[in-house]
């Protein structure tokens, strides 16, 4: 037994190490090939990340990525590809901002209302794709791509001053109006102008635990995972696949809706034309990189947040910021390839063990046979 653990440990560590080393080397090669110092940008980023205000940004961004990636991951766990997280996130942020700005409620209730509206909106938008899939067989890949674009238009319409939007005096921006302070989610001020860590970041982390628990410790989660691993087996085991598709699409959308909350409740308190976009697409990468596992996703989210925020001073130092995007791509490939290599090695090991066991169990007496 001890031996197996050691094996597992080595195999478990080999993947990340291999991935890190190879992506580092590849990034250096790209820099070298374009005649730049291969070490300096990385050093700059690490140095930059030592500052408290950058760290706050990284932590906050991690929370946002984490929620959106959980939304993607829950779909992936049952072979649903929700490309629409970005649209769900934007629409949910917008609608909940409208609702939040239009009511006055005591603190926790106000926040709760906004959050619930966000969840419902995200779930509703994803649910359209779910319904289309279960009733009309429309591929969720296609429908969520379309729904992303439709969400853009819908938001653009809703945010018109003639509808639910507000154009602040003297501004060229459109917003949904400011949410009263009772609807702000308290954060942790890091002092000295370093910014606040959004309180919702902790909600995100808590949801990671919930995600783990639901998936690994509940009947529902078991059914969901079973559907993802083998739909036919799941159906035979009593899972109603249609209901499952719809439910997981709704959950995915709800989580996507939540991923706008750190920014909305902790920072902007309004949805405006400059509300961050594209979170849902980065989240796909993060979920895949984290292998749909709550801890893996956390690390992946942290890594991506680091790459994005720590690179903020690269251009000032004369290095193209785009290098971080190249690094992201290389890291994803390096990680999955090295995991695959390690997995192959591990599978071979496991089979070997099964084989040995079999040989030991079924006593063979081959050589004493007579021929007829």
């Amino acid at each position: 037994m001890k031996k197996i653990d050691k094996d597992k440990l080595i195999i478990g560590a080999a993947g990340p190490v291999l991935a890190l080393v190879s992506s580092f080397v590849l990034t250096m090669l790209v820099l070298l090939a374009t005649g730049l110092d291969p070490i300096e940008p990385i050093r700059l980023m690490i140095e930059n990340a030592e500052y408290a205000d950058i760290q706050v940004l990284i932590v906050n961004q991690t929370g946002i990525f984490y929620l959106a990636a959980l939304a993607v991951a829950i779909g992936f766990r049952m072979n649903l590809f929700n490309i629409g997280v970005d649209g769900q996130y934007r629409l949910a942020a917008m609608i909940s901002a409208v609702v939040g700005a239009s009511v006055e409620l005591p603190g926790p209730l106000h926040i709760l209302l906004i959050v619930v509206v966000a969840i419902l909106t995200g779930a509703f938008w994803a649910g359209i794709a779910g319904i289309l899939k279960t009733t009309r067989g429309v591929s969720e890949v296609v429908s969520t791509i379309m729904l992303n674009a439709i969400a853009t238009s819908l938001i653009a319409w809703l945010i018109l001053p003639a509808n639910f939007g507000v154009q602040p005096e003297g501004s060229n921006d459109l917003t949904t109006g400011e949410i009263a302070e009772s609807g702000w989610f308290p954060g942790i001020d890091m002092g000295q102008g370093n910014g606040e860590i959004y309180g919702f970041t902790f909600v995100a982390l808590a949801l990671g635990v919930v995600y783990w628990f639901v998936l690994n410790r509940t009947r529902f989660g078991f059914d969901l995972r079973a559907t993802g691993e083998s739909e036919s087996a799941a159906q035979a085991s009593g899972v109603d696949a249609k209901k499952m598709i719809l439910t997981s699409m709704l959950i995915s959308g709800g989580l996507a809706g939540l991923s706008g909350m750190p920014t909305l409740l902790g920072d902007t308190h309004t949805y405006s034309l400059s509300f961050p976009v594209g979170v849902g697409f980065t989240a796909i990468t993060i979920a895949l990189l984290g292998r749909n596992n709550p801890v893996g996703i956390l690390f992946a989210a942290l890594l991506f947040a680091f790459l994005e925020k720590a690179s903020s001073n690269l251009d000032v130092a004369g290095y193209p910021k785009e290098i971080t995007q190249i690094m992201q791509g290389i890291i994803v490939i390096a990680v999955v390839v090295s995991y695959e290599l390690v997995r192959r090695y591990g599978t071979r090991r496991q089979q070997q063990k099964v084989g040995e066991e079999l040989a030991a169990g079924g006593a063979i007496k081959t050589d004493k046979e007579v021929s007829a």
Binding site: Y51, D53, V56, T152, S171, N172, L273, S274, V316, K321
Partner: protein, 328 residues
Amino acid sequence: GKSSSEGGSASTSDSKATKAAIAYDIGGRGDQSFNDAAYAGLKKAEDELDVDGSEAEPSSGEGDADKVQRLTSLARAGNNPVIGVGFAYAPAIKKVAAQFPDTTFGIIDDTSVTGKNIANMVFNEEQGSYLAGVAAAKASKTGTVGFIGGVEVPLIKKFEAGFAQGVKDTNPKAKVLTQYLTQPPNFDGFAKPDLGKAAAEGQLDKGADVIYAAAGLAGSGSIEAASKAGKWAIGVDSDQYNQAGLAEYKDSILTSVTKDVSDSVYNLIKSVKDGKPQTGEVRYGLATDGVALADSNPKYKSMTDLIAAVDQAKKDIIDGKITVKTAP
């Protein structure tokens, strides 16, 4: 803990040379439009005022917090002024300006955030567009003119409003076709000439013979389409008649509505350098030539009737006889 700009080389801000910084909007330097115009102002200041300029680009999909960090970092590094290019910087400037009372912050296209050390540089795009409308109505033979907006945001609607009003005031029977290329937050409409071209073709097919495109780079596609059809185009932001990339179509560029972002940046830097920093609303309208109608095209100059009407309108606006709407 420490903040990103406390340590490192940046904090040695004791030199006498003025340091100025601009923080770009989405797209950043190289967009051949808004951001590049701001850069031109900075460049001019560097050349003429011996200013030490720095620039910072946003990353895609960033939020207000990132902008706050960027402005803070630029301000801490001793830059004065720090200019946010575009209204998206308003919430960030509101926060940062309070922390750095001795630094002047400039913001373009926004007056919603105010403060003693904030200069709000705004333009009367609708006034310039009104003149373009007058010119278009005069130049049009079919009585149908087209407006193409890059992205449907309030800023561009100002262009539309002024243009339509100018057309209608000149020729009440004229028809204005309006087409926006994309909806926010999809800003492709400022960047994709193929969209501008397709939209212009649609309007030309409907009989438009003058097309005004307020669509950044996408407008070049509209100019191309109008030129190929032998119709008039009206440019935007800079005098597009003199733009190298459009030389092929310059004869068809009737005029352009210029918006002097570059000067506004330069002026702010100069004012700080001179020790009399601009503050509050700094408006660039027809009166100050902050917005204007270009007249580089010889053909334009030869249309005396048109020029007369435009000049009259300009005078009326400056005198306050005409108020131009800012929303359609």
